[in-house]
């Protein structure tokens, strides 16, 4: 400033001065106390452009209607279960990618990470090693954890761009896949079978009995309901605001209806009952949601993603947080590999890791995770994975060729990224 008397510029407050009314519209739901205010706040948020998952859900319904008009079979019980089963691989890979996107980084290696993790497991549980299935999974996860730690260290300690590090990682994993397969003379043509008696095979191919399906869904909804109500009561008891009872009951009702529809559909299918992979994926997402929402390390991932400098000044070990996220991403990719090989009944060196990683990014972003860091939830992966699976399955049911499938997926991905970018710009304009 030229002269010491010059007053501080008072009109440079473009992004920082909001009137009280504007503040209310910026975060209406935290101020609402009754059900009516909640619904009002929700409507206001949508008008402000913070529509959350709504456009994606509307888009999903439109896509489903389109495929249903084209092919009646699209909404058969069998195909609905197929779509959901098919989505599990995308959901798992999406969850892996969310850890990294929250940091505003990217992990391109997870597609082949699923391949290597899955192949290591397949080799460990087959002869001649013959480890029990759970030890095999631990082995695969350990290998991928080391790989993730390596990538994370390169990104966080040498400050290399994650794009380049994980692009290299993708190639390295692709090579590793061939090396491992070549070591095993029984892997004819680079394919190693999963024993149909193994729990890993049954994860996708086995179903619970219809009775157990009911019991599990009822227990899950009850647990969710009790947890929400108990949490709200604990908050109210300490003089804190909690969502009104009506809002909680509505969310429980939605969960119950979804659960009932799922069981009815799955039980009408042959083989009847819910595939084991569904509760598996949901449990992983619940655990990751807890990790991100209820632990320090989870909170620090969001902090580093939004403002690494602020995180550093708050005493957070930013390097460790970044490394941890890459470890989680690679380990989750390994779990995706379990789902993949269970679905295929085998693991092959032909796994299309390049396409899978693009689906993973699409899953995360369609679900509402920002590519620019700091914004997104684990359950976003569920919505995103179902959208991808609906598109892939619908095009296959229509008998469209692979080329058109790829192009259609690209369009869906671009639409999601555009949406993310628009939401961001709109939020920044506030």
């Amino acid at each position: 400033m030229a002269t010491p008397q010059a007053p501080a510029p008072s009109d440079e407050s473009s992004q920082s001065t909001l009137s009280d009314e504007e503040l209310v519209t910026a975060a209406p739901e935290v101020l609402a106390t009754s059900l009516r205010e909640y619904l009002h706040a929700w409507a206001q948020k949508i008008r402000n452009g913070e529509s959350g998952a709504l456009p994606v859900i509307v888009g999903l319904i439109l896509i489903i209607i389109f495929f249903r008009i084209e092919r009646r079979v699209f909404l058969s019980d069998t195909n609905i279960v197929n779509i959901l089963t098919g989505s599990t691989i995308y959901v798992m890979l999406g969850a892996a990618e969310i850890f990294i996107l929250l940091l505003s980084e990217i992990d391109l290696s997870i597609g082949f990470g699923a391949g290597v993790g899955g192949l290591v497991i397949a080799e460990l549980i087959a002869s001649p090693v013959n480890l029990p299935w759970w030890l095999g999974i631990i082995g695969g996860m350990a290998v991928m954890a080391v790989f993730g730690a390596l990538q994370g260290s390169l990104v966080s300690r040498l400050n290399l761009p994650s794009f380049v590090v994980t692009l290299g990682g993708q190639l390295a994993l692709q090579g590793l896949l061939l090396v491992i397969a070549n070591l095993d003379p029984t892997a004819v043509g680079g394919v190693i079978q999963i024993d149909p008696g193994s729990p890993i095979y049954k994860l996708v191919n086995g179903t619970m009995s219809p009775g157990l399906s009911w019991a599990m869904v009822i227990a899950a909804v009850a647990l969710f309901g009790i947890a929400s109500l108990v949490k709200n009561r604990a908050r109210t008891a300490r003089g804190l605001t909690a969502p009104p009872l009506g809002v909680t009951l509505i969310s429980i009702a939605i969960a119950a209806i979804g659960g009932i529809l799922l069981v009815v559909t799955a039980n009408a299918n042959t083989p009847s009952g819910i595939p084991w992979v569904f509760p598996f994926v949901v449990l992983v997402l619940v655990f990751y949601t807890w990790l991100l929402g209820r632990t320090r390390i989870g909170r620090y991932i969001y902090a580093v993603g939004a403002n690494p400098e602020a995180a550093r000044r708050a005493g957070i070990n930013v390097r460790w947080i970044v490394t941890f996220a890459f470890i989680m991403s690679s380990v989750t990719a390994c779990l995706a590999g379990v789902v993949y090989e269970s679905n295929q009944g085998s693991m092959s060196i032909d796994i299309n890791g390049g396409q899978l990683v693009l689906f993973a990014v699409a899953t995360a972003v369609i679900g509402g995770t920002s590519l620019f860091g700091g914004r997104g939830r684990m359950f976003n992966a569920l919505l995103g994975g179902i959208v991808i699976s609906v598109v892939v399955n619908g095009l296959a049911v229509m008998g469209v060729g692979a080329a058109a499938q790829d192009i259609a997926t690209a369009v869906v991905l671009l639409a999601a990224v555009t949406l993310d970018s628009l939401v961001r710009r709109r939020a920044a304009a506030h």
Binding site: M1, P4, Q5, A6, P7, A8, P9, S10, D11, E12, S13, S16, T17, L18, D20, L23, V24, A26, A27, V30, L31, A234, R235, R238, G239, L240, T241, W290, R294, T295, R296, R299, Y302, A303, G305, A306, N307, E309, A310, A311, R313, A314, G315, I316, G374, R375, A427, H430
Partner: protein, 255 residues
């Protein structure tokens, strides 16, 4: 606590700092009393930033020493200064836009309950701290910081310092880029902070703000501390003269 006979919270004794050929600080002697606002003024390049960064522990002085509570201390990094209770609020405020007020205030120091984040305790403490600072315009402590005004963001940054038991808060141009009402809010905040027994150092170019909040004024000129005295001994003219010439000719100020 009775601050008058406890001596200054922080004393700089003959502090000098060089960067290569540039003599940034020369023989600075400055006392920072408790529960008072000390305004640090000076033209650009006078050494204000160098001085606060020395206090914040970003680098050690080449000569001289820093006394905290009368005892000499060697600050080997910002962490050492923070451990003493020195918190610096830079202009960028170091807030995470995606986190809410509570989350920002406790970032890096979250209390745990059975291994998980104790949200209720944090929320209550955050609410009470904002109340103590008389911040009433924030409607909910669960609002994301992105939705706050500039003054409110400043309040969150100050509350964050307070919640981590700061004894000395250094604020770098806290009212720059704020509108009239927001500036008012931040000035009240600074007074509230001193009212809570916290020592405050404010860097400001705006003499209106300085005279509004400062109990003491210290002026740097070309790396030297030319005056440090109660604000009542200055007027606008003498303050400007100190900043631009290093002396006040027919000055009112004694010192």
């Amino acid at each position: 606590m009775d601050s008058s006979d406890a001596g200054p919270l922080l004393s700089l004794k003959n502090v000098s700092k060089r960067f290569g050929p540039v003599q940034a600080l020369t023989d600075v002697n400055l006392d920072i009393p408790r529960a008072q606002v000390t305004a640090l003024i000076g033209d650009n390049g006078a050494g204000k930033s160098t001085l606060i960064k020395t206090i914040a522990g970003l680098w050690a002085p080449d000569e001289g020493e820093i006394l905290w509570d009368g005892k000499p201390r060697h600050l080997h990094g910002p962490r050492d200064a923070e451990d003493l209770g020195i918190k610096t609020i830079y202009q960028d405020l170091a807030l995470c836009d995606n986190l809410d007020i509570v989350q920002n205030m406790f970032l890096g120091h979250e209390p745990l309950r059975r291994g998980t984040l104790d949200e209720a305790t944090m929320e209550i403490a955050a609410r009470n701290t904002l109340k103590e600072l008389s911040v009433v315009t924030v409607k909910s402590v669960r609002q994301p910081v992105a939705s706050l005004s500039g003054g409110q963001r400043q309040s969150v940054a100050v509350a964050k310092a307070l919640i981590s038991q700061a004894q000395l808060v250094i604020m770098d141009e806290p009212t720059a880029a704020l509108g009239v009402a927001q500036t008012r809010m931040v000035l009240d905040l600074i007074k509230a902070l001193a009212g809570r027994g916290v020592a405050v150092i404010v860097i400001s170019h705006n003499l209106n703000d300085v005279f509004e909040v400062a109990d003491r004024i210290a002026c740097l000129y070309l790396g030297r501390l030319v005056v440090s005295a109660p604000a009542s001994e200055f007027n606008r003219q003498s303050a400007v003269e100190y900043m631009t010439t290093g002396t006040a000719g027919q000055a009112v100020a004694s010192a």
